[in-house]
C-alpha cells in the first residue's frame, strides 16, 4: 500500500512541477527571447515481483526548452542582414530627402546664376544686373555649402553611430561572457541545462547580431564563443576582446573600428559586414563619400571653368578679369605612420578626366604608386613627380616633395574639400568681366570690302594681349602685321596675333588696314559674358559628356537609385526576417491557448493523483476498521 502512496506522491510532485512550468510559460509569454519549456515525464523504474513488474509512478526526466538552433541561426542571419539594410536605408533616406526638393537643390541655384549672367549679357553696363549676378554667385556658394554641410552632418552622425555601436557591442560581449561563466557553473553543478540563462544568452547574441554580424560556437561545457568580422574572437568563454574606435591614419575625423586582440590592434572596419555598424560603414563608403566627391567635382568644374573664361575677359574698369570663384583645393593627407617628411601637392589639371574617387599614393623607397582608395590596382602615372614634370593621372597633377621614406603613404582627396571651399570672390560689380579685352576694327578709310571678326582671346597669358596691332594689306593677297612680314591672305582663315584670333573675310585692297586694340571703354561689350553663359551647357565633365547640371543630376540619380535599391532590399529582407521569426516563434513561442490546455491537463492529473491518495487513505481506513472491530 505504501508503494501506491509513493506512486501517487510521485505523480503529485511531477504534476506540481508541470503546473509550475506551465505557469512559468504563461508568465513569460511576453518575455523577449524566452523559449517555451516543456516537462518531459518518464515512468519510474518498476518493482519486480514474481508475477511481473509493478509500476511505481512517474518522474520528470528534464525540463526541455523548445529551441531549434538551426532556426535560431536563420533568425540571427536574417536579423543581422535586416539591421544592416535598415541602418543603411535610414541614412540613405536622409540623404535622399536632402536632395528631394527640386526647387532647393543645386540646379535652381546654378540656373539662377546663369540667368543673372544672361541679364548681364543683355545689358553689360547695367550695375543692377551686375549686382544681381554677384548676389546669385553668393547664393550659389551658399547652396554648395549647405549641401556639403548636410553631408558633413551625416558624416558626424556616421561617426557617432559607429561609436555607439562599438560601445553596445562591447557591453553585450561583457554580458555574454558573464552568462557564459554562470552557465558553465550551473550546468556543472546540476548536470542539466539552465534553460532561462541559455535564453538570455541567445537573446544577447541576437541583440549583438543587430549591431554586427557574428558567428557562434557552443562548447561542451555550455559556454559559447563569439566571432566577428573575418574571424576575430569577441568572446571566448568568460573572456572578452573588446572593439575600439580609432581615428583614420590619414584623416583623424574619420573613425575606424579597431579590434584589440591578443596580437595587437587590427583595423576591422571593412570586414564588419552586417548589422547596424556594417550598414553605417557601407553607407559611408558607398553613398556619403562618393556623393560628397561628386558635389565637390561639380564645384571644381564650375569654379575652374568659370574662372578660366572670366580671366579671358575685361571688366568695367578696363582690367582683365580676376578669379570669380574660389574652390577648396585638393587635399593630400599624409598617413600618421609616415616616417618621411615629404609633402605632396595635388592640383586639378584636367576637369574632364576628373573622377569622384579618392586615391592613395604610396612610396616603396624607389617609386610612387597611385591606387584608388580601397583598391590595389595601380593607376599608371606620367611624369616624374617634380614641379617641372609632375605626375599626371586621372586629371590630377601631383608634385611630390623630397624626403619620403619607404612605406610612406598619402591619401589624395581631389574633390572632397571643393564644395566647402567654394566662395564667390568678387564684391565689386565693376569687376565682372563681361567684355572681351580686345576689339578688331576695319579702318574707316579702307577701300576694299573686307571685314574683320570681332576677335577672340586664345591665349590670355600673352604679354602683348592688350597691345595694339595693325594688319595692313600690301596688296590684295598679302598683308603685313605691325609693318613687318608678308603673309599670304586666305579669306576667312585664322590670323593669330598677340594671343588674339581674328578672321578677315572679303576682298581687301592694297593699303587697307585692320586694327586690333584693347577694348577701352567697351562697357557695352558682352562677348565674354556670352562665352561664360555658354559654359552652362558645355560638356566638360566625364570626358566631355556631361555639363555641371548633368554632373549634379547624376549625383541625384545615384543617391535616388541607391536609396531605392536599399529600400527594396530592406523590404525583401523584412519578409525573410519575418518568415524566420515565424518559424522561430512557431517552435519557441508560447501559445497561451496551448498553455491553458496544459493547465487543465495537469490540473486534472493532479486532482486524479490526489484522488488516488484518498483511495489509499480509504484502503487504510478499511484495513484499520477491520482490525479495530
Amino acid at each position: 500500500m505504501a508503494d501506491i502512496l509513493t506512486t501517487s506522491v510521485s505523480g503529485l510532485l511531477a504534476f506540481q512541477r508541470a503546473l509550475a512550468t506551465t505557469g512559468h510559460n504563461i508568465a513569460n509569454a511576453n518575455t523577449d527571447g524566452y523559449s517555451r519549456q516543456r516537462v518531459e515525464f518518464t515512468a519510474r523504474p518498476p518493482q519486480g515481483f514474481g508475477n511481473g513488474f509493478i509500476g511505481s509512478g512517474t518522474q520528470i526526466r528534464t525540463v526541455q526548452r523548445s529551441f531549434d538552433a538551426f532556426i535560431a541561426g536563420e533568425v540571427l542571419l536574417a536579423g543581422t542582414a535586416h539591421s544592416r539594410l535598415d541602418s543603411f536605408h535610414n541614412l540613405a533616406t536622409r540623404m535622399d530627402n536632402m536632395l528631394a526638393d527640386p526647387t532647393a537643390g543645386l540646379t535652381p541655384s546654378l540656373q539662377g546664376f546663369f540667368n543673372a549672367l544672361q541679364d548681364v549679357a543683355d545689358d553689360p553696363s547695367s550695375i543692377p544686373a551686375r549686382e544681381a549676378l554677384l548676389g546669385q554667385a553668393e547664393s550659389l556658394a551658399a547652396r554648395f555649402h549647405s549641401l556639403d554641410q548636410g553631408f558633413v552632418e551625416l558624416d558626424k552622425e556616421v561617426n557617432a553611430r559607429i561609436t555607439e555601436s562599438v560601445a553596445k557591442i562591447n557591453s553585450l560581449a561583457d554580458a555574454i561572457a558573464e552568462l557564459n561563466k554562470e552557465i558553465v557553473r550551473l550546468q556543472g553543478a546540476v548536470g542539466q541545462p539552465p534553460n532561462d540563462l541559455l535564453d538570455q544568452r541567445d537573446l544577447l547574441i541576437r541583440q549583438l547580431s543587430e549591431d554586427v554580424e557574428v558567428n557562434t560556437l557552443v562548447q561542451d561545457d555550455g559556454s559559447m564563443n563569439v566571432f566577428i568580422g573575418s574571424g576575430q574572437t569577441l568572446v571566448i568563454g568568460g573572456e572578452v576582446n573588446r572593439l575600439e574606435t580609432a581615428p583614420n591614419e590619414f584623416e583623424p575625423t574619420r573613425l575606424e573600428v579597431v579590434y584589440a586582440g591578443t596580437s595587437g590592434n587590427t583595423i576591422v572596419t571593412e570586414s564588419l559586414n552586417g548589422g547596424t555598424i556594417g550598414g553605417v560603414i557601407d553607407f559611408r563608403r558607398e553613398m556619403l563619400e562618393p556623393a560628397r566627391n561628386a558635389l565637390g567635382r561639380v564645384a571644381v568644374a564650375v569654379a575652374d571653368s568659370f574662372n578660366a573664361q572670366h580671366r579671358e575677359g575685361m571688366n568695367l574698369d578696363g582690367q582683365m578679369g580676376a578669379d570669380f570663384f574660389a574652390v577648396g583645393a585638393p587635399s593630400a593627407l599624409p598617413s600618421a605612420s609616415n616616417t618621411g617628411t615629404a609633402a605632396i601637392s595635388v592640383s586639378v589639371q584636367d576637369i574632364s578626366a576628373l573622377t569622384t574617387a579618392d586615391y592613395e599614393l604610396s612610396f616603396d623607397g624607389a617609386a610612387y604608386t597611385l591606387t584608388r582608395a580601397g583598391s590595389s590596382i595601380a593607376i599608371p602615372m606620367s611624369g616624374s613627380g617634380s614641379a617641372a614634370d609632375p605626375f599626371v593621372a586621372e586629371g590630377l597633377s601631383i608634385v611630390v616633395g623630397a624626403g619620403a621614406a619607404a612605406g610612406d603613404s598619402f591619401l589624395l582627396r581631389p574633390t572632397r574639400p571643393a564644395a566647402s571651399g567654394f566662395a564667390a570672390l568678387l564684391n565689386d560689380p565693376d569687376a565682372i568681366a563681361a567684355a572681351a579685352p580686345v576689339r578688331a576694327e576695319a579702318a574707316t578709310a579702307n577701300l576694299g570690302d573686307a571685314t574683320i571678326s570681332a576677335g577672340a582671346v586664345i591665349d590670355v597669358n600673352d604679354p602683348g594681349l592688350l597691345s595694339p596691332a595693325t594688319i595692313q594689306f600690301i596688296d590684295p593677297s598679302t598683308y603685313s602685321i605691325n609693318g613687318a612680314g608678308a603673309f599670304a591672305y586666305t579669306p576667312g582663315a585664322d590670323i593669330d596675333i598677340n594671343g588674339v584670333r581674328v578672321q578677315i573675310d572679303g576682298s581687301p585692297l592694297a593699303g587697307d588696314t585692320f586694327t586690333i586694340a584693347a577694348n577701352a571703354g567697351g562697357v557695352g561689350d558682352n562677348r565674354n559674358a556670352l562665352l561664360l553663359g555658354s559654359l552652362q551647357s558645355a560638356s566638360i565633365l566625364d570626358g566631355g559628356t556631361a555639363s555641371f547640371q548633368d554632373g549634379y543630376g547624376r549625383l541625384v540619380a545615384q543617391v535616388g537609385t541607391t536609396t531605392q535599391r536599399a529600400g527594396i532590399n530592406l523590404e525583401a529582407q523584412s519578409s525573410v526576417l519575418a518568415n524566420a521569426q515565424l518559424s522561430y516563434e512557431s517552435v519557441s513561442g508560447v501559445n497561451l491557448d496551448e498553455e491553458a490546455a496544459n493547465l487543465l491537463r495537469y490540473q486534472q492529473s493532479y486532482q486524479a493523483m490526489a484522488q488516488m491518495v484518498g483511495v489509499v487513505d480509504s484502503l487504510f481506513q478499511t484495513l484499520l476498521g477491520a482490525f479495530s472491530r
Binding site: 535622399d96 540619380a557 508560447v590
Partner: protein
C-alpha cells in the same frame, strides 16, 4: 503550424505599420501634388525633373533676352526711319537746288534747312535708350559716339556689335554700330567716285558713272584730262595713259570696266578725277551739300561747279539712303528672327512643361483611388487585429 500568441501581436502590428507607411506616402504625394516625393521614388525621373526644370528656366530667360533685343531693335528701327526721312527730304532739296530756276538766295535758305537736318541727324545718331546707353556707339555704349570737331565729325564709338542669346545656340545682334549706319558709307556709285577739278574753267559736268565690267575693273585714281576742249586722255595714278578719245557732249567715256559721261563744254586743261570710292559719313555729305549751296554762282563755270557738287551730293545721299534701307532690312530680319524664335521657345516651353507634368505631377484620380483602397485595407487590418487579440481560451475556463 504552431502559432505563438506573440506572433499574432507582432504580425498584426507589422501589417498595420506597413499599411500606415504606404498611406503616409500617398498622403505626402497628394498634399505635395508630386508623384516623386524624393529621388528614390524614381531616380531616373528625379534627374529628368531637374533637367526639365532647368530647361524651362533657361527658355524663360531666352524669352526675356529676346524681349530685350526686340525693344532695342524696335528703337533702332524708329531711329532709322527718322534718318531715312531726313535723307529723303535732303535729297528733295538737292534736286530742287539743282534746278536752274533757283537763285543764290533760295539755295541759301535750302542750305540753312540742310544744316538743320544735319543737327537732327547727329541727335539721332547719338540716341540713348531707356537705360541711358547710346544706341549707335558699338561696345562703348557709355560714350557719346558722334562729336563735331574742327575737321568734321568724329566717331568715338567702335565697330563692336553686341549679340543676345535668344535660344539654344541662337544669337541675334541687338543693334548696329554707328560707324556702319552713319559713317562708313561709300561715296559716288559705291565703287568709284568722280569729281571735277576745282580749277576747271570750262562748264563740264561729270556724271557719277557706273561699273560696266567688274572683271576689267582696276581700282586706281585716274585723271581725265582735256588736252584740247575736244580731246581727252585718261591717265592712271602713275601717269600711264589708259585711254584717250575725242570728246562729244554727253558721250560715254569708258576705261578699265568703268563708264562715265561728261556733259557741257570743258576747257583745255580741265581735269576730272575718277578715284576708288572712299567712306564718308552722312553728316559730311550734308555739310558738303550745304557748303555747295552757300557758294555763290557767279558765272557758268560756277554753275558747273555747283552742278558737279550737287551731283556728288545726290549720289552720296542715295548711297546713304541705300545704306539705311539695308540696315533697316537687317533689323527687320532680326526682328522676325526673334519673333520666330519666340514662337519656337513657346513651343519648347509648352512641351517641357507637359513632359515635366507627366514625369513629376501626380495623377490625382489614381492617387485618390489608391488612398481609398489603402484606408479600407488599414481599417480591415485594425478590426482583424482587435478580433484576433480578443480570442483566448482562458476566457472560457
Amino acid at each position: 503550424m504552431r502559432i505563438a500568441t506573440s506572433t499574432f501581436l507582432r504580425q498584426g502590428i507589422d501589417a498595420i505599420q506597413s499599411l500606415q507607411s504606404t498611406l503616409s506616402r500617398t498622403q505626402q504625394q497628394i498634399s505635395s501634388g508630386r508623384r516623386i516625393v524624393s529621388p528614390s521614388d524614381d531616380p531616373v525621373g528625379a534627374a529628368h525633373v531637374l533637367e526639365l526644370t532647368r530647361g524651362l528656366e533657361e527658355t524663360g530667360q531666352y524669352q526675356r533676352n529676346g524681349e530685350i533685343a526686340r525693344n532695342r531693335l524696335s528703337l533702332e528701327e524708329e531711329s532709322l526711319i527718322g534718318v531715312g526721312n531726313i535723307l529723303q527730304r535732303a535729297r528733295e532739296l538737292a534736286l530742287q537746288a539743282n534746278n536752274a530756276s533757283q537763285s543764290d538766295e533760295t539755295r541759301g535758305f535750302m542750305a540753312v534747312e540742310l544744316r538743320e537736318m544735319q543737327e537732327q541727324l547727329v541727335q539721332i545718331a547719338n540716341t540713348r535708350d531707356a537705360a541711358g546707353q547710346y544706341l549707335f556707339a558699338g561696345y562703348q555704349s557709355r560714350t557719346e559716339p558722334f562729336v563735331r570737331n574742327a575737321s568734321g565729325f568724329q566717331y568715338l564709338g567702335d565697330q563692336g556689335q553686341r549679340l543676345v542669346q535668344i535660344g539654344e545656340g541662337r544669337q541675334v545682334a541687338d543693334g548696329d554700330p554707328g560707324s556702319e549706319v552713319f559713317q562708313m558709307i561709300r561715296i559716288g556709285n559705291g565703287v568709284f567716285s568722280t569729281d571735277a577739278n576745282a580749277a576747271n574753267t570750262g562748264t563740264g559736268v561729270i556724271s557719277t558713272g557706273s561699273v560696266i565690267d567688274p572683271t576689267a575693273l582696276v581700282p586706281d585714281t585716274y585723271a581725265v584730262n582735256f588736252v584740247t576742249p575736244t580731246d581727252y586722255e585718261v591717265r592712271d595714278s602713275g601717269g600711264g595713259l589708259v585711254a584717250s578719245g575725242v570728246y562729244a557732249d554727253g558721250d560715254a567715256i569708258s576705261f578699265n570696266g568703268m563708264q562715265l559721261e561728261i556733259s557741257g563744254q570743258p576747257a583745255m586743261g580741265d581735269s576730272f578725277t575718277v578715284a576708288p570710292a572712299i567712306n564718308q559719313d552722312m553728316f559730311t555729305t550734308l555739310e558738303n551739300l550745304a557748303t555747295a549751296l552757300e557758294t555763290p554762282t557767279l558765272n557758268d563755270t560756277g554753275r558747273a561747279h555747283l552742278h558737279n557738287d550737287i551731283n556728288d551730293g545726290l549720289a552720296n545721299l542715295d548711297r546713304a539712303i541705300g545704306q539705311v534701307l539695308e540696315i533697316r532690312t537687317r533689323v527687320g530680319t532680326r526682328l522676325s528672327t526673334i519673333e520666330s524664335q519666340r514662337d519656337m521657345n513657346e513651343g519648347i516651353e509648352l512641351q517641357l512643361a507637359q513632359t515635366l507634368s507627366a514625369v513629376q505631377d501626380l495623377d490625382y484620380a489614381e492617387a485618390l483611388t489608391s488612398l481609398n483602397q489603402q484606408l479600407a485595407v488599414l481599417e480591415a487590418a485594425q478590426q482583424t487585429f482587435v478580433r484576433v487579440q480578443g480570442l483566448s481560451l482562458f476566457d472560457t475556463l
